[in-house]
């Protein structure tokens, strides 16, 4: 291993330590499971490692976030013919309470019911607090599409809230 390689690995390891909690959280919201999030972030960081000499340190997080979104898209496309988009909600009258804290979280359950692009826009816009321009750039879509996706996501959430309210009432 050359000194350049060692320097590269050291700076990359430092970045992983700082960035991985945020990436894992974003990936968890995108995938809905800690295992899938772990796998997704690992794959993202492997890609980042390959390109590490070309990545500027100040843009490394944005670069990884972009890979994360694209990687998620790729994985989704590869598997989505057989992938459920929402977790189980089994509020039967006699069920034992075996649901995880994830299942109990209503916002996350609502998020999981959204179509893929809306979900990605919601996560980047409202969890990562990115501007509409940055979300558009990250996802490779227009600002108009970001706005319409966010609007549809909010409308869908509103509709689900109303439906749930009606059922609970």
């Amino acid at each position: 291993m050359t000194p350049q390689d060692r320097e590269r690995d050291a700076s990359f390891a430092q970045f992983v330590e700082v960035a991985s909690p945020g990436l894992l959280r974003t990936a968890w919201l995108l995938t809905g499971s800690s295992e899938a999030a772990h796998e997704l972030v690992q794959a993202t960081l492997v890609k980042a490692y390959v390109r590490w000499p070309q990545i500027r340190s100040e843009s490394a997080m944005a670069y990884c976030r972009r890979i994360l979104a694209n990687e998620r898209t790729d994985r989704w496309r590869r598997t989505r013919r057989e992938v459920p988009v929402a977790e189980v909600d089994t509020r039967s009258a006699d069920r034992s309470d075996t649901a995880t804290s994830d299942d109990r979280d209503e916002v996350v359950r609502l998020l999981r019911g959204l179509p893929e692009q809306q979900r990605r826009v919601v996560v980047l816009r409202y969890y990562c607090d990115l501007s509409e321009d940055t979300v558009a750039d990250t996802l490779g879509i227009s600002v108009g599409t970001v706005k319409s996706s966010a609007s549809r996501a909010l409308a869908a959430l509103r509709a689900q809230l109303v439906v749930q309210e009606g059922e609970i009432r």
Binding site: V16, S20, P21, R25, W28, L29, S34, E35, Q42, V46, Y49, V50, Y63, I67, N70, E71, D74, R75, R77, R78, R80, R81, E82, V83, P84, V85, A86, V88, D89, R91, A93, D94, R95, D102, D105, E106, V107, R109, L111, R112, L114, P115, V122, Y126, Y127, D137, G140, T145, S149, R152, A153, L154, A156, R158, A159, Q160, L161, V162, V163, Q164
Partner: protein, 365 residues
């Protein structure tokens, strides 16, 4: 966070919902923190090093393959340096997805779905556990005629009292006729035909039935499948509608995966509607270094690309074509150089020359 059921009763504002999301998502990830598995930097570095090694081997292999096949014509790279390009044999496995015209509901191998005429699975999902319903929603593209249906697979462990099953639909969606009950491979499936749902809304709202007189409720969303076969709108990539879309006769859909060694670079399913001359997509991970096109007519003899800047593809591109059986469609795969992570706008169009010398241009969608 404020509980959704405590939200304003009629219609929460966008600002309310945005606040709910901001707070709720943060609280959710905080609670999930303990579940995250630790990342091993050494493993990531080792895998990255292996990837680099494989990529270097691939580049050498690619150069050898390009040299071994004939140069196709003397065509120039549009906007580039006039590099002569070679046709490479495509190395991705490709499978076609037939048009859907008739369907068969199936429950087997832990999957619930609808099989199309050819025996291919049009849309399916895993059946998870025995206590949750699985819901499949599908219909024609927005604005098109045809039936919309919600199919609900009743949990395996449950044996509802006869006639007690009630599938709830969201407001503004009206049931058409009586729900049908079908036994498929020993499992009870409820089929509800309904009016088209509003844009972006999934029609299924919940499920109730009784078992021995005791009510069981499954509130939305349950396990809801909203995927379709195809690309773009057909595949619901914009999230415009909350159900899977049937393909119409004459549509050609191609699914592909790109693998380099044991590195899976993804791919997708690309759909060419009946009557459409072609489609062009740019994709693959963060680098957007692969373009996929479906073109009709005689197979291309030459392909040129146009980028967003004159020097974008100055390093040249390689392409390969595969004809799709029983169609006049060719799948064209274009390996690009000079791309970066700046987005999908780097490829503006491709121009191909058919067997008769005709030239056709296709813009990226």
């Amino acid at each position: 966070m404020s509980h959704p059921s405590n939200a304003p009763s009629n219609s929460p504002t966008d600002a309310d919902l945005e606040d709910l999301l901001r707070v709720g998502l943060r609280e959710a990830v905080d609670r999930a923190d303990a579940a995250y598995l630790p990342l091993e930097v050494s493993e990531i570095v080792a895998e990255g090093a292996r990837t680099l090694s494989r990529r270097r081997r691939w580049q050498v292999l690619g150069a050898a393959a390009a040299a071994a096949v004939a140069v196709v014509g003397s065509w120039a790279l549009t906007g580039g340096s006039g590099t002569r390009l070679s046709q490479q044999p495509a190395t991705v496995p490709v499978s076609t997805v037939a048009p859907t015209t008739s369907e068969e509901i199936f429950v087997q191998d832990e999957r619930f779905g609808v099989r199309v005429e050819s025996g291919e699975v049009s849309t399916a999902l895993n059946v998870i556990g025995s206590v949750a319903p699985a819901v499949l929603q599908w219909g024609p593209p927005p604005g098109s005629a045809g039936a919309h249906e919600v199919l609900v697979l009743i949990p395996e462990a449950d044996h509802p009292d006869p006639g007690s099953v009630d599938v709830a639909l969201v407001p503004d969606v009206r049931r058409l006729g009586e729900a049908r009950q079908i036994i498929v491979n020993g499992r009870l499936v409820i089929v509800v035909r309904h009016t088209p749902p509003p844009t972006g809304m999934t029609p299924y709202a919940g499920l109730t039935y009784t078992i021995g007189g005791r009510e069981v409720r499954h509130l939305s969303p349950g396990i809801v499948h909203i995927d379709g076969v195809g690309a773009g709108a057909a595949r619901n990539e914009g999230g415009d509608f909350g159900y899977a879309v049937r393909l119409e006769a004459g549509t050609v859909a191609v699914s592909l995966q790109r693998r380099v060694g044991d590195l899976d670079l993804g791919g997708g399913v690309f759909t060419l509607p009946a009557g459409s001359p072609g489609l062009l997509r740019l994709g693959d991970g963060a680098d957007f270094d692969m373009a996929y096109a479906l073109v009709r007519g005689t197979p291309p003899r030459a392909v040129t690309v146009t980028g967003d800047t004159p020097s974008r593809f100055a390093g040249g591109v390689s392409w390969g074509g595969m004809t799709i059986d029983d169609t006049d469609v060719t799948l064209v795969l274009i390996a690009l150089t000079g791309t970066d992570d700046s987005g999908s706008g780097q490829l503006r169009s491709i121009t191909w020359t058919d067997a008769d010398g005709g030239r056709h241009t296709l813009r990226a969608s």
